[in-house]
């Protein structure tokens, strides 16, 4: 063993150096990364550059080489990345405040340009965030509050995307999509006035419902009375004179013969119809 080492010392060391050199000149580019090879700071090659509609497996990913010590590899993501905008207040055209959370999805399509302008992925994100903020503020500021909330949001988003995309291209990035994640009323006055409006709207609704209920009830009562009158009239119209008599009898019964009416006194004249036979007249 020792002899072997002594004999082939130079050979072994040489082999080790060759191996290390080989390993450091070969690198693997995964599907998710693009590699920019810088020679003395100048980009010379891009490995696994993004091409639209390229299927995985057909890309430039795989093993690649470089000149050790001279070439430097800068990794640039090939994936769809997100840049999140911090929640901020946006003023709509009609001077109403809205708290907006947005995100943009982007991907680097020109890694060389990206390396030259931004340098690294983190820096790129840092550059894009304020651009997104300002573009969002600008474009949303030209729209009314209602438009921000409803369907027009789609059109606004397209505009914002186009605006951001234009700026992002300077960094070799393509903006795929911008979305408003949340659009909320800011806490405090705006939120409270919204609550008040909701409460009063509900108050109005409940009052209306109550009034409608009362109206319905009145109509039902009136209809019943009308029907009753109709029924009475139908029956009593057959002989109004008899009705007069019949009803009078009922009235006397009700008025004078109640249990509590024992104290009432009736003064009868002898001429009274009731006392006709009493007088013995018998006409």
């Amino acid at each position: 063993m020792e002899e072997l080492w002594q004999k082939n010392k130079a050979l072994l060391i040489g082999a080790a150096i060759v191996l290390i050199a080989a390993l450091s000149s070969v690198f693997v580019v995964p599907e998710t990364q693009q590699a920019v090879i810088l020679r003395n700071g100048k980009p010379v090659t891009v490995v696994n550059k993004f091409h639209p509609n390229e299927d995985f497996g057909q890309t430039g990913a795989g093993i690649w080489y470089r000149v050790p010590l001279i070439d430097r590899v800068v990794w640039v993501s090939k994936q769809v990345l997100a840049v999140d905008m911090q929640r901020q207040e946006v003023l709509s055209r009609d001077q109403r405040r809205l708290e907006v959370d947005a995100y943009a999805r982007f991907r680097v399509i020109d890694p060389v340009r990206m390396v030259q302008t931004a340098g690294s992925m983190d820096r790129l994100e840092e550059q894009l965030r304020p651009i997104l903020n300002s573009v969002l503020r600008q474009r949303l500021g030209t729209r009314s509050f209602q438009a921000l909330l409803t369907a027009e949001r789609g059109a606004a988003m397209d505009e914002i995307r186009a605006g951001l995309d234009k700026e992002a291209r300077e960094y070799g990035a393509q903006v795929i999509d911008v979305r408003i994640k949340r659009a909320d009323l800011p806490a405090g006055r705006p939120l409270e006035t919204a609550y008040t409006r909701m409460q009063t709207a509900r108050k109005q609704e409940s009052d209306t419902i109550r009034a409608q209920g009362q109206k319905q009830a009145q109509i039902i009562r009136a209809e019943a009375e009308a029907e009753a009158a109709n029924v009475y009239a139908d029956a009593f119209n057959k002989d109004p004179a008899f009705y007069d008599f019949y009803r009078a009898m009922q009235s006397y019964d009700t008025v004078f013969s109640g249990q509590s009416d024992k104290d009432s006194s009736i003064i009868l004249s002898p001429d009274n119809e009731f006392l006709r036979q009493f007088r013995g007249g018998g006409r």
Binding site: E2, V80, K181, F236, S260, D261
Partner: protein, 375 residues
Amino acid sequence: MTKKGGSITDSILAMAGKSPWGSGGGGEDADRGSGSDDAPVPEGGSKPRNPWLPGDSDDGGPRKAANIEDLFKHRQARRGGGGGGGFPRIPQAPGGKSWAPLAIIGIIALWVLMTSVHQIGPKEEGVVTTLGQYSSTMTPGLKFSAPWPIQEVEIEDVTSIRTDTIPEGEAEKLMLTGDQNLVDLSYIVRWNIKDLKLYTFQLASPDETVEEVAEAAMRASIAEVTLDDALSGSGRAQIEQNVRSRMQALLDAYRAGVAVQGVEIKKADPPTAVVDAFREVLAAQQDAQSDINRARAWAEQVTARAEGEAEAFNQVYAEYRLAPEVTRRRMYYETMERVLSQTDKTVVEADGVVPYLPLPEVRRRTTKSSSQGDE
């Protein structure tokens, strides 16, 4: 990956029970060597050694190195093998050959076995990359690949439905509706992986993307409907459908490889600050209904009484028609009987006589009758 390599080496060492390194193989390797060397010693026929005994468990590097050195010396002495226990010496197999080739072959065999045989479960798929480049997707079953680092396999559960509840917990989450009202909403998104290749490579953070897309789609859909639609059951189904198709369209545009299976609104309530006003509406509806109910009851009574009275009149009238004069008289006397039998009567006999009303008498009777009534 280096970590993986390390653990594999560890296990190989443990299994092989022999250290392929000499004692001079570096501090870290020496540590490992001593750890795994403790096991094979009894098998070698020497005294059992307790690795926790003081002296062995010392952390000092040199001491450990010395132990290993001793050990090798021991073995070599027992075998009566050649070699004076030089520092960079590899232990020798019986017959004087080196252990090294065997050990290396063992390591390689294990390496190949561990990194090229893959058990893909029934719900899983595996993405195979060859030197970083995608080459194929493995379907369930026992699958083989080239060993690491030539080929790498990443196994992921694709068919299981993943659920995201947004927001997590019971916190209030307010969204603006189209009529500028607020609704407290929470919902569940169910999704799974449609295309593992895209899911793995396309997006930097696919899981978060799904959540963000869900949030954006939900808010956009809520902003299109009125508060009443958002609160009502039928409106909800429409919103869920909208959100789902919106999400799917967005994720497809990102080529996320994700299939949205469904979106369910778990809760859609008015904000707690105004919930009383909403309850008041319910109460008003109840009140209105009870008003109407009472009116209906009264109406029933009125019409029923009218019908009853009319019917009674009709009956009497039918009788009266048969004998008008007699019936009329009879009714008159009967009524008068009932009336006069229950009241005080004063008959004033003749004209010209001033009627005398015995008022005290009347009063007395009154009190009497009222006291009777009290009893």
